[in-house]
């Protein structure tokens, strides 16, 4: 079995199943934890509390004005990177093709030139974010292997995707296999490390917002 066959075959199936099981596990394991009992009457009913949770998910996307000068760089870099990644994954023709094969859903793709440009910007943002993490004294202190591994496992798919799309170095089959395998490694790691913020950020903000709403605080 060649590397490509392995990547498109058993490795793909295994990594998708691990991702599904892992994400389900972590979300359920956190949501079902005990919470401190609240003896006060809720200020709002459940529907409003759910609305509050949703509101918090959205409101936290906008940085607070007081902090803006200090966090501007990281917010801009991070937002650009995240949006860029979303454009590549959901706007790139081969990715839509994969989703179509798995789910039957399809939508129009973006032109190759656009994806190319966005990929370059995304890659640059990722490198800038790494440099910032390595140079910023507090970040350097706080960063663990988890942080760097999570960065690497997202960086490799973007990098291999660019190389594959450009078809300038290496054989197509090898580059395709490496790209697919790098994504599979990311999928396997995702539930277990910092990458899980992809799901937890919504769960966390949502539950926090529901809690605030229960207390009548602003969301």
């Amino acid at each position: 079995m060649t590397l490509l066959e392995f990547a498109r075959g058993p490795a793909f199936q295994a990594s998708v199943l691990i991702l599904i099981a892992g994400v389900a596990w972590r979300l359920v394991a956190i949501i079902l934890l005990r919470r401190r009992p609240q003896f006060a009457e809720p200020r709002h009913g459940l529907p409003a509390r759910i609305g509050g949770g949703a509101a918090t998910i959205l409101s936290r996307f906008v940085p607070r004005r007081t902090f803006w000068p200090r966090i501007a760089v990281s917010v801009v870099l991070s937002a650009t990177f995240h949006i860029g990644l979303a454009i590549i994954v959901f706007g790139g023709a081969p990715h839509i093709l994969l989703i179509h094969q798995l789910t039957g859903l399809t939508w129009p793709s973006l032109p190759r030139g656009v994806i190319s440009l966005v990929s370059g910007v995304t890659l640059a943002c990722m490198i800038a974010l790494l440099i910032r993490r390595l140079n910023h004294p507090v970040l350097r202190l706080l960063s663990t292997a988890d942080d760097y591994l999570s960065w690497l496992l997202v960086f490799l798919p973007v990098l291999t995707g660019i190389l594959l799309s450009g078809e300038t170095i290496g054989g197509y089959a090898t580059l395709l296999a490496l790209h697919i395998i790098s994504v599979e490694l990311m999928m396997i790691w995702l539930p277990f490390g910092k990458l899980m913020h992809a799901g937890l950020v919504f769960a966390g903000r949502g539950l926090m917002g529901m809690n605030f709403s229960r207390k009548g605080a602003a969301t």
């Binding site: 490509l4 498109r8 793909f12 199936q13 599904i20 359920v28 394991a29 094969q101």
Partner: protein, 362 residues
């Protein structure tokens, strides 16, 4: 005229030049053939006169052709020519001493022919193989005259000068090797070592590749440069994707989404319909089959990767290279259930652990 040359070959020592002359083809025809072969082999055109001179002097080369676990498609593709082509020159010249589909003799007469050919050309004959070789149960799944192809290969390869594995079955195991491979089929290179082997894969292979390899071998006395899969670089150095006439559509993002849709009718790229052109090495996008008539993509079907190992098991002809094998909704559901159950279990354990002791003061 002597009937035996210094190697003691039983056949004539007629040269290719003499053979062609006898048919009314002079040195000009041979030079034209050499020019065409040089171009096909991606050699500089200046080499053609040397090739022509060597070809003129060349003595008939004995070729023993063994057909093993095959469909005979490879033999058919080499024969199907309605009008004289340049390849016929070489195919007519090689002394095809044994080939079961083509020769008149059969049964024990055929076996004697094989035996005599091997004895007469020991160490000098080219061994051409098409079809894979079953190895399970001592190779009982493909026999010729009661002898397993496995045993025949081991014996006859021993005295060959070089081995040509014709077609993907002989080169890499091909279709018989596809899952679950009940006969234990393998390609020639898995069984023979210590002999120069050239793989000429394809299902079937492009005929011009074989004639090019033979012309090179007869002209220069050695095999052409091979890639890491022992395929001639001149023909297998580039992928279908690199030579495809529909490449511009790929680059522009114009894909056919289903067979016979508007894009398909416009001749757009077949990537989404499962074309394996980017991962397949062969010369068919430029040389095509049937005297340059067509090849799958030109006929509207994506490349199936027939010159690559295990192409039959490479995940489906109509699954694009961007896709993979789906685990299935059922398995996804099971994975989610396992995750939920596991998560609930760990949450429960955590909850029980942190339960406050009723004896503690608040």
């Amino acid at each position: 005229m002597q009937n035996a040359d210094d190697k003691g070959n039983a056949n004539d020592d007629e040269t290719l030049g003499a053979m062609l002359s006898a048919r009314g083809i002079g040195r000009r025809g041979l030079l034209k053939f050499a020019i065409a072969m040089a171009s096909s082999l991606a050699l500089p055109p200046g080499v053609a006169p040397l090739m022509a001179a060597n070809l003129a002097k060349a003595k008939r080369r004995s070729v023993i052709w063994l057909s093993f676990q095959e469909c005979t498609g490879c033999v058919e593709t080499l024969l199907r020519s309605s009008s004289p082509t340049i390849d016929q020159v070489i195919f007519d010249f090689i002394s095809l001493d044994y080939q079961e589909a083509l020769m008149a003799a059969a049964g024990t007469a055929a076996e004697k022919t094989l035996h005599d050919a091997i004895a007469a050309n020991k160490g000098e004959y080219l061994l051409a193989i098409d079809g894979s070789i079953p190895t399970k149960d001592s190779g009982v799944y493909s026999l010729t005259g009661g002898r397993s192809n496995l045993a025949m290969l081991k014996e006859i390869a021993a005295d060959a000068k070089a081995i040509l594995a014709i077609g993907t079955c002989a080169a890499f195991g091909g279709i018989p090797k596809a899952f679950p491979n009940p006969t234990g089929a393998v390609g020639v290179e898995d069984l023979v070592s210590g002999k120069p082997i050239v793989n000429i894969p394809g299902c079937p292979p492009v005929p011009e590749v074989l004639s090019g390899v033979l012309a090179y071998f007869i002209s220069f006395g050695k095999l052409p440069d091979l890639d890491e899969r022992k395929r001639p670089l001149a023909y297998f150095g580039a992928t279908i994707h690199d030579q495809c006439y529909r490449r511009a559509f790929y680059d522009q993002g114009k894909f056919a989404h289903s067979f016979d849709d508007e894009g398909a009718r416009q001749g757009w790229c077949l990537f989404e319909l499962g074309c394996k052109g980017p991962t397949t090495h062969n010369a068919c996008a430029s040389l095509k089959w049937n005297n340059g008539t067509s090849f799958p993509i030109q006929s509207g079907h994506g490349c199936i990767g027939c010159s690559e190992p295990d192409f039959w098991d490479a995940g489906g002809f109509y699954t694009s290279l961007a896709g993979g094998s789906a685990a299935g909704w059922r398995n996804a559901g099971i994975a989610a259930a396992v995750g939920i159950a596991g998560g609930a279990a760990t949450a429960l354990a955590a909850r029980n652990k942190s339960r406050p002791d009723p004896e503690d003061k608040p």
